[in-house]
Amino acid sequence: MAHRYPGQRIAITRLIIFLGLVTYAIMVVYPMFWVLCTSLKSNKDIFLDPFGLPSMGDLQWSNYAQVWTAGSFGNYFFNSVIITSLTVLAVVLLSAMAAHLLSRFVFWGCRALLFYFLAGLMVPIHLSIVPLFFEMRALGLLNSRLGLWLAYVAFSLPFAIFILTGFFRSLPVSLHESARVDGAGEFRAFWHVMMPLARPGMVTVAIFTFLGTWNEFFMAFMFLSGEGSQRLRTLPLGLANITIVSQYSSDWSLAFAGLVVVVLPTLGMYLLLQKQLSQGVTVGAVKI
């Protein structure tokens, strides 16, 4: 595309812009680097020289060992993996089915149903948490993974349906119709024809559901706080316990090692799937 930039002035502008972008990229990457460095320092070093590099001869790998065993992050990690993966699975599936229904078919109340789901985007979570707590208790779902899972799935649905309905709308009608003409049942047509087509949208939903669930604190805090729930707790609860405690007593080295443990899987997931992310989110958001 260089032909669009004739002349030296434009080359200089381009250099300046490039340097600007590099600066911005450093601002964005530096924090992750800083978190990583800090997690390898001793408490006293963090406190007295927060931005210094860790001394290479004295890297505190023991912070990780400590947070993994004494901080029970091994246990938290396992719980988070289970609950997040099951949530992502259920959300992608249920929202794809609902989005297929809402985008492809016309029936009495179809618009109302769509708006009913979208209204969920506007419900502040802190509003419904207290009645939900009682409901969970009445259903015997408190202090259980099952209850937390159901709540996570339900609260992730509105955004997922929002994105996927738009995405399904952008898919060609003809393929679906020809599958039906060939005698495939409604469900088979969805499963074998529409779902594969909707993959970028579903990956987008998976990423956002993953980010939301993996970092979710408030519901986990509420629903996994009573008796017998210690073994079920997720990473954000563990992390909050060390970082909130840090307000008072500041065991920073553990907190930062914990942060790295929480961030790494998210980073991996994002780098793995990022190619499909932008496509899905844009199509989904615009075609609603």
């Binding site: 669009r4 924090p31 927060p50 249920l94 500041s250």
Partner: protein, 781 residues
């Protein structure tokens, strides 16, 4: 229609269900005979390991009893939720308003046990505590609270620094301020102060008032009796605070507790006021050669109160009468407060305790001065009056007043008169809870008119569109009712049961008055009237939301557009930039807050350091003006209440630009290259191409981006809540933080849900309006 007999999704859901259910059943343990539940506060200073160890040892001594003990820094919230369903753990120490519970008869009186033997059996249990330690929670002749940790506010100082300069510990405020002048003269900041919590300046103002006006007047002020704020002594007390403020370290108003500790330990400041938990908080981070000392808060040469008085009190445990096995719970507390266990507590946490003979030899040597202050004190004040408690609403007014004083926005005299007026409002609220003072008229009217206008417009436009655009559903198919149930059913059921139904229930609470402890009472629209017509706080919070909704997108959107355009034009490394710019979105809220707290740190933060460096470089190049301006940022308090909202702008840009760039970039990439090539041929500049080709074609995405930002701006919670350390004052609340504070801190459930209803309405109409006004004819190509 043929539906497969075994649907894969149903299989997957069942699988999830079965996996989780099996794990649950494996997790179940056998029930012991007697189980005592204890939910205790843990600040991380070593309380929880101590509690757990004590519980296990107690179980060995009393077979058949199991102590189900857990602790958490946020235990208050959990215990308040338990209060809502009136199933308390047997033992708690933080959360509900204990005075309400005591008056309702929900707390077990302890006198019967206190008059019995202590655990060691060498005295009565009552006599095993320090004098006066049991006094606070006494009501109608009965004792309800059991103390263990002893918290006192004193002044901590750098002993070595004092010795080297020959400074001596002051006992009066005059001596204190003379000392401050000497310290300043030596080039050191006299006082470190955590200005992000204006409430912590209460230590100074309250202590001065106690000694000026005497114990009776102090209690009268706690009970907000008429005349207890607008008086000479209070004015003098505020003057003391203002003089202390003038000795704060530069940037103190933007500092947190951690930073203040750091400043003291690094020798940048000579003194700080703080509680006796300080030594426990710094733990092993005390630098070598640092000597810690402490002296009591200064008083006056002619004090109206006992000069040995300690500004502090004990931390209390309560036993809930209706909890199962309340008497066994008391027996466990007897063990917990035995001399041996209290001594172990002191040793484990380095926090003083209220049990006789338990501190000696168990605290670190640098607390000797503190132990001396505590053991020679004849009385304590601080924790509030006996038999009652200050109304929680008053606290917010006091904190606001302190904030205004500290930031030079009011004089002592103004604040005395203001607080007197506030106290009158609070008294009136207590006397006639259903009265509404109509103070705001135009703002609620404007808001109502906006809502009505949007509804009318949407209805009319909707009807018009229905008549003219039937084609929308033309290409769509019909489906059997069974199909609707199969595809939409599971999502609909889950969403209705776990999202909609609880939200509707919460809405129903908005017409009730309920503190979770006493029965609900129907009050109609009272909460809404009060929020819209009387409360200043609600409108201030809404204003802050509007700032976030409109000022922040004004920065974020152009930058995102710029980044997207650069990458779209294929600048070097654009593939890498695209991936990297999204990074802030994968960090959770806690990480982001921790990071920016450090960056914005007034002393030693990267941002101030960088600005000062740039300023010095500018001065070296002969640019005096900008150089001075930049070096002026040394010690600038970014996170003080005054500057907080503008400080949010960089955080928001950093956090949101990458995500929005991704959306805009994807939209730009759908634009056919041929359009640009044609424009090139016509000689249109890049700038012109951007405005006439790119912008119109990505307009729908821009409007979606804006709606996302407006919804997010309206619902902003975490950032403000964490940056204000969960204690925003009236001027920096947003609506969501106000709701959470009303719900979980002040515990007015009805009013909190009323705020939530208003928030929902605002989000709904805010996003609907934006979408309507942004809608243009879609451009097809």
């Amino acid at each position: 229609m043929v539906v497969c007999p075994l649907l894969p999704p149903v299989q997957i859901l069942c699988l999830g269900f079965v996996v989780l259910a099996v794990m649950e059943s494996l997790a179940c343990a056998e029930e012991p005979n007697i189980e005592v539940e204890a939910a205790l506060f843990d600040s991380g200073a070593g309380q929880l390991p101590f509690y757990l160890e004590t519980a296990r040892e107690y179980e060995k001594l009393r077979p058949g009893i199991k102590i189900n003990l857990y602790g958490d820094p946020r235990i208050a919230t959990k215990n308040r939720i338990r209060a809502l369903e009136s199933t308390f753990p047997a033992i708690t120490d933080l959360g509900p308003d204990y005075w309400t519970l005591i008056r309702n008869g929900d707390i077990l009186p302890l006198d019967e046990f206190l008059d019995g033997p202590s655990w060691e059996g060498d005295s009565t249990w009552r006599e095993s505590f320090l004098p006066g330690a049991l006094d606070l929670y006494r009501y109608q002749g009965k004792t309800y609270g059991l103390p263990l940790p002893y918290y006192a506010n004193t002044c901590w100082y750098n002993k070595k620094l004092f010795r080297e300069h020959g400074w001596s510990k002051p006992t009066t405020w005059d001596q204190f301020f003379n000392l401050c002048a000497q310290i300043r003269g030596a080039g050191i900041a006299p006082l470190a102060f955590p200005g992000r919590y204006p409430a912590s300046s209460k230590i100074i103002a309250y202590a001065a008032y106690y000694h000026l006006a005497g114990p009776e007047a102090f209690v009268a002020q706690q009970l907000i009796e008429p005349g207890s704020f607008d008086n000479t002594q209070m004015r003098q007390a505020f003057e003391i605070l203002l003089e202390a403020r003038d000795n704060f370290q530069p940037g103190a108003l933007g500092m947190s507790f951690n930073e203040v500790h750091e400043q003291l330990l690094r020798g940048h400041a000579a003194m700080m006021f703080g509680g006796s938990g300080f030594r426990a908080q710094i733990g092993d981070k005390l630098p070598e050669h640092f000597e810690l000392g402490t002296f009591n808060i200064p008083s006056f040469a002619h004090s109206a109160a006992d000069p040995t008085a300690v500004a502090g009190g004990q931390w209390y445990y309560f036993v809930h009468r209706h909890a199962p096995h309340a008497r066994e719970a008391v027996d466990f507390l007897r063990y917990l407060t035995s001399r041996q266990m209290a001594g172990r507590f002191a040793r484990a946490t380095n926090i003083p305790v209220a049990v006789r003979g338990a501190m000696e030899g168990n605290l670190s040597r640098d607390l000797d001065e503190l132990v001396h202050i505590l053991s020679s004190a004849r009385t304590t004040y601080w924790n509030g009056p006996q038999g009652g408690v200050q109304p929680p609403e008053m606290n917010q007014y006091i904190v606001d007043a302190l904030d205004k004083l500290l930031t030079h926005r009011a004089t002592a005299d103004e604040m005395c008169r203001q607080l007197e007026a506030d106290a009158a409002v609070v008294r009136q609220r207590i006397a006639s809870p259903d009265l509404v003072n109509y103070r705001h008229v135009w703002k609620p009217l404007a808001l109502g008119a906006l809502v009505v206008a949007v509804v009318l417009y949407a209805t009319i436009a909707g009807a018009w569109r229905r008549r003219h655009a039937r084609a929308v559903t033309a290409g769509r198919l019909r489906i059997s009712p069974m199909g609707i149930v199969v595809f939409g059913g599971p999502a609909l059921v889950l969403y209705t049961v776990f999202v909609v139904w609880p939200a509707l229930q919460a809405f129903a609470w908005s017409t009730q008055r309920w503190d979770g402890l006493t029965p609900m009472r129907y009050v109609g629209l009272l909460h809404f009237k009060r929020l819209l017509f009387e409360s200043d706080g609600f409108w201030i919070a809404l204003g802050n939301n509007l700032f976030i909704m409109f000022v922040i997108p004004a920065f974020v959107l152009p930058l995102s557009l710029f980044l997207a355009a650069c990458i779209n034009r294929g600048i070097w490394g654009s593939a890498l930039f695209r991936v990297v710019f999204f990074f802030p979105n994968i960090l959770g809220g806690v990480t982001v807050t921790l990071l920016w707290l450090r960056l914005y740190s007034a002393q030693g933060g990267l941002i101030n350091a960088a600005l000062v460096k740039m300023g010095k470089a500018a001065m070296a190049m002969g640019l005096e003006g900008p150089g001075h301006w930049l070096t002026g940022f040394a010690g600038f308090a970014w996170l003080s209440a005054e500057h907080l909202y503008w400080s949010l702008v960089p955080i928001a840009i950093w956090g949101a630009a990458g995500f929005n760039m991704l959306l805009l970039l994807a939209a730009m990439q759908t634009i056919p290259q041929s359009l640009y090539e044609a424009a090139d041929m016509d000689g249109a500049s890049i700038w012109r191409q951007f405005w006439t080709i790119t912008m119109p074609l990505i307009w729908p995405v821009i409007s979606i981006v804006l709606v996302f930002m407006i919804i997010a701006g309206m619902k902003t919670f975490e950032l403000i809540w964490l940056l204000t350390e969960q204690m925003p004052n009236t001027s920096n609340h947003v609506i969501a933080t106000r709701m959470v504070q009303t719900m979980f801190v002040e515990f007015r459930v009805g009013e909190a849900t009323a705020i939530a209803v208003l928030l929902f309405i605002l989000v709904f109409f805010g996003s609907a309006t934006t979408l309507r006004f942004m809608r243009r004819e879609a451009v097809e190509f």
